[in-house]
């Protein structure tokens, strides 16, 4: 198999369209970042919904970075990379969501603030 024709995470599609791919990614990332900073400061959005909106924008931007900068796609040459990414995302989700769930639960079982000095109070 020809080395230059194969697909690797970064430095994949060499050729005239390479710069266009990176520029597209940059423009999309700038739009998403600007929207994030706007959403964090606006009073137009229902305040409790802002955190969820920011999380969605961040996940979208990570997707843009993965596709346009790291060139992780669903192409046939990229199966191993995409599978490893899927496993990584699973572990990240378990660590973050599991920690928040368990620690939130523990906090909920603590005596009310005031009756005891607590290291963590929400």
């Amino acid at each position: 198999m020809n080395q230059t024709a194969t697909n690797t995470p970064a430095l994949a599609q060499e050729g005239p369209s390479g710069a266009l791919v990176y520029t597209t990614g940059l423009v999309l990332a700038i739009i998403l970042t600007a929207t994030s900073f706007w959403a964090a400061n606006t009073s137009l959005i229902w305040a409790p919904g802002i955190a969820l909106g920011l999380a969605v924008l961040a996940i979208a931007q990570m997707g843009v970075h993965l596709v346009f900068f790291l060139h992780i796609t669903t192409g046939p040459d990229n199966t191993n990379n995409a599978l490893a990414l899927a496993f990584g995302v699973l572990v990240v989700f378990l660590v973050v969501a599991g920690s928040l769930w368990i620690m939130g639960d523990l906090n909920g079982m603590m005596p009310a603030a005031g009756s005891m000095r607590m290291p963590m109070h929400h």
Partner: protein
Amino acid sequence: MNIAVEIRDVAPETLSTLLPTASQAGPAPKRIVVGYGFWIFLLSDIVMFAALFAAYAVLVHATAGGPAGPQLFSQVNVAIETACLLVSSYTCGLMALAVNSRRRGAFYVAAVLTFVLGAAFLALEIREFADMIARGATPQTSAFLSAFFTLVGCHGLHVAVGLLWLVVMMAQVAVKSFQAAVVRRLLCFSLFWHALDIIWVALFTVVYLMGVRA
């Protein structure tokens, strides 16, 4: 392509010789193996950051009477840091294109731009840390600040290591030119640099943007 028609005409036992399996095709090129291995390392690094993010999210309200996020964070500073890192990720992509087409001049321009933008990011972050510590918001002040300095400092440390790596790669290109091994290392470097930008996206969202609202 009417390859399906051709396959239907051949006997089943010759089918395996017609379509070689992965093992018959021989080992993958070293470039593919190196990229895959480094990708696995980056994912393990991201899992480590996930643990730090989880610790930060659990401890974000444990300010122990000390200052909280809204009193400490400057959104303008974070916006400039984000812009520096995003554009440096872009110039790193252009550097990868220059490496692929073996253009040394374009490689040096893109590498120096990437370095300058990364160094500007790091300088802004160090200034922010120094400013916070000068105002008494040290890592010892509260669990929130311990988690903050660990999470953001760990990312900053990765950026510092990346800058050092980039200098080494520029020196290697100067001395060895675009040898196969040097090109593979440059592939790993650009993967590393793009991964750091992905972590920064999560970081500025969770720490700074959600932090100034709280």
